[in-house]
């Protein structure tokens, strides 16, 4: 019998051969890896395995995975997890995005899609109740994200109405797509959806580009998968919503209130490429956004009562016609303060631009801020860039974002992401790598999210990026290797939103997981077994890395150098990340997970998690 919460069917798409097949997982595998990030990591291990370090993230062989989980659409806050071998970290990132694509996929009867190969011409993939099909996207290639969404919505709706005209009005499909950044293999490009949402971390937009896959569209008319214990699930569903509704801060402001307070209060907001983390600029305050730009103050994805999103639109002036969300805190910081931009309108513009070009709104502006600091320090010159790149110059950053998306001039170097750009620029300038890497705010190649560690007042502390298998990803930070396993690792594998997990208790969430699947799940089983299994496998693949970059155990399990500089301003001036504490806590983290003192999973641990076949590949990392 199929466990509850699963459609129990996947699509396997070979884009080289134009072949679409269906497959299922043994139910034991579902219980062991659950879904989303977990099942994606398992797929990658099964399909790539010992070839991992020689597989380029942009090679046709790299499986690109769109995975839902058993709780997707049923637990409040539907998301989808995009994964594959990350061309950024060379490991596995479970990159999630809020989108109805997850729901449409499941109502069409599928838990996920695996794409391999490379199409010889641009295509998009359409999933309906009748299965999956590869369709021509020649007319969409080259379009920005907004244009792609508009055209695809209209085209697919018309096609489905033509196929089945008698059933009534066809609702539009849900779509995920790439923009010019993904098409041109900007290494950290995003997979975008719903105008302003994205699976940003990991660079899977460029993996789509490398496969000539412009978009995925889905429309299902069936029901979400049946659950194991419907009555319990219904009660828990009502309870979960009750919890979400109590989270009034996000309902009122989204995360848009943090653009001011993470700077002014916790002093952990990136400013001018993290040279500072404190500001008291009221211009970044939420009322400036709310009163000037919000046209919708409560916006949510399917089955979500948290409503953390808002819709912004610029109706007049030079950025007229820009549409995005609040922007949320991450983009307020990265498309604002990190570039020295402290004007709400200019911030909305850069955020919109990221959405349109298909850049990741965190990662690309991290690289832009990095370039601006190199310009400030005279390492990059006006001649290198083609114009002056001063802090706060919105037009200049607009220009740079385009150059990166289309790989023009210095944009071609910066399109490699902050870490690789730093290495290239060092080579260009005849500098030692450490001379440019010292300003690169990334961990394992992944540009760090907009929460610093130096003030120690945010949720991000000492080793939370340094030890993470997803590097700088601020949605997957670590604390102790135990409680983490029932948080991000679980949310990304059950696949629902981390913000709808705020409000309902952890006990309720795990009871819900059990009521849906019928698996004997508890918080403890996730903390001791399922979570560690997923993270240990991610760690093994991250250690193997390659082919262009590998990460040294210990040495690369660290924060960016900047996080050890003293804060230059604000109430926590002089304070910095405690290196001894970082080292000590990383050791404790490794120990908790059963990894050796250099972070290599031990044979005993691998055997205990059912990962014995990974052990021979870990041997070469052991001393």
């Amino acid at each position: 019998m199929t466990p509850g919460g699963y459609a129990d069917k996947w699509l396997d798409v070979d884009l080289s051969k134009g072949r679409v097949e269906e497959f299922s997982f043994p139910h034991e595998t579902l219980e062991q890896y659950f879904g989303g990030r977990g099942i994606a990591t398992k797929i990658l291990w099964d399909r790539v395995g010992e070839r991992w370090d020689s597989l380029d993230g942009h090679a046709p062989d790299n499986p690109l995975i769109f995975a839902t989980g058993p709780m997707t659409g049923i637990y409040p806050g539907a998301r989808i997890c995009v994964s594959g071998k990350s061309p950024v970290s060379n490991g596995v990132v479970g990159s999630t995005a809020a989108t109805e694509t997850a729901v449409e996929l499941r109502t069409a009867g599928y838990d996920g899609i695996v794409f391999t190969g490379k199409s010889d011409k641009p295509v998009y993939f359409l999933v309906t109740d009748d299965g999956g099909e590869i369709r021509d996207a020649g007319h969409l290639w080259g379009l920005d994200c907004e244009e792609t969404l508009i055209k695809l919505n209209k085209e697919v709706t018309a096609e489905l109405s033509k196929r089945k005209p008698n059933v009534g009005l066809w609702k539009e499909p849900a779509t995920m797509y790439i923009g010019p950044a993904g098409e041109n293999l900007v290494r950290n490009a995003a997979v975008c959806t719903k105008v302003c949402h994205a699976a940003g971390y990991g660079g899977y937009g460029s993996v789509m580009g490398s496969k000539n896959l412009k978009a995925v569209a889905a429309k299902g008319r069936g029901s979400l998968p049946e659950v194991d214990a419907p009555e319990a699930a219904y009660l828990l569903w009502r309870k979960a919503h009750e919890g979400c509704m109590g989270f009034t801060t996000f309902r009122r402001w989204g995360t848009g209130y943090l653009g001011y307070s993470v700077g002014a209060d916790t002093s952990s907001e990136p400013i001018r490429n993290w040279q500072e983390e404190w500001h008291d600029e009221k211009s970044m305050g939420v009322p400036n956004y709310m009163d000037r730009f919000w046209v919708k103050s409560k916006w949510a994805d399917f089955n979500c009562t948290t409503n953390c999103m808002k819709v912004s639109c610029v109706k007049a002036g030079k950025w007229k016609g820009d549409i995005t969300d609040m922007p949320d805190y991450e983009l307020q910081a990265y498309c604002g303060t990190n570039l020295g931009i402290f004007d709400a309108g200019d911030n909305v513009h850069i955020s919109t631009l990221m959405d349109k070009l298909g850049h990741s709104g965190i990662n690309a502006p991290n690289t832009m801020g990095y370039a601006a600091e190199l310009y400030q320090r005279g390492i990059l010159t006006e001649e290198d860039i083609g114009f002056k790149l001063e802090w706060g110059d919105t037009e200049a950053f607009d220009r740079l974002a385009h150059m990166m998306a289309y790989r023009e001039g210095i944009g071609d170097v910066l399109a490699e992401g902050t870490y690789r750009a730093a290495l290239k620029i060092a080579e260009m300038k005849g500098l030692k790598p450490e001379e440019t890497l010292r300003y690169a705010v990334q961990v394992k190649g992944i540009e760090v999210g907009a929460h610093g560690t130096r003030s120690d007042k945010d949720y991000t502390h000492d080793m939370c990026y340094a030890a993470s298998v997803q590097g700088g990803d601020h949605t997957s930070t670590v604390t102790d290797g135990y409680s983490d396993m029932s948080e991000a690792v679980f949310f990304d594998s059950a696949v629902f939103c981390m913000f709808t997990a705020r409000g309902p208790s952890q006990e309720l969430i795990f009871d819900f997981a059990k009521a849906i699947t019928g698996f004997p799940i508890t918080i403890e089983s996730w903390r001791r077994e399922t979570g560690p299994r997923i993270v240990t496998l991610q760690k093994a693949l991250l250690l193997m890395g390659g082919p262009d970059v590998t990460w040294e155990p210990v040495e690369d399990d660290d924060n960016p150098p900047r996080f050890y500089e003293p804060l230059p301003s604000g109430p926590y001036k002089g304070q910095t990340t405690d290196r001894e504490l970082v080292d000590m806590r990383i050791q404790a983290y490794f120990e908790t997970l059963g990894w050796d003192e250099r972070g290599i999973p031990t044979r005993e641990t691998l055997d205990g998690l059912g990962l014995s076949d990974v052990d021979p590949l870990m041997e070469r990392f052991r001393q």
Binding site: V103, V167, G168, K171, V295, V311
Partner: protein, 143 residues
Amino acid sequence: MWPEASRVRVFMPFPGLEVPHLCSQCMDYPCVASCPVDALSVDPTYGAVIVDREKCTSCGDCIRACPGTVPFLHPGDNKATICDLCGGEPKCVEVCTEAGYNALTIVNEGPNINRKLYSRNPVDTARDLAVKFFGEKGLEVIE
């Protein structure tokens, strides 16, 4: 959960422009009049359109007769599906109130010809909303 079986379907031709699409109980009930097999009738107490699923032949005449193309064929049994006001105690109102939005309330009103005006194609409604939200840009977002 079965979104496409819900008698209140939410369309979103462009992100942010969600349009709930449901029966507005036109005073002249063109759907009821169009049914060739008398499968549709009007609930005498609440005015909702009731579908007799035994009689329905899935011909789609009611869909075409509706000014807003509101009825649809249920993806399960392929029969005409129209909001029946849950027998006078609409579930949508109940959960909306519970959620604290209070966007939906129950009103008791007599026949009114204006109700028909709310029976619209959701893409048309979204296009109007787009202009309200996005100004001139709104004319571009829904082709």
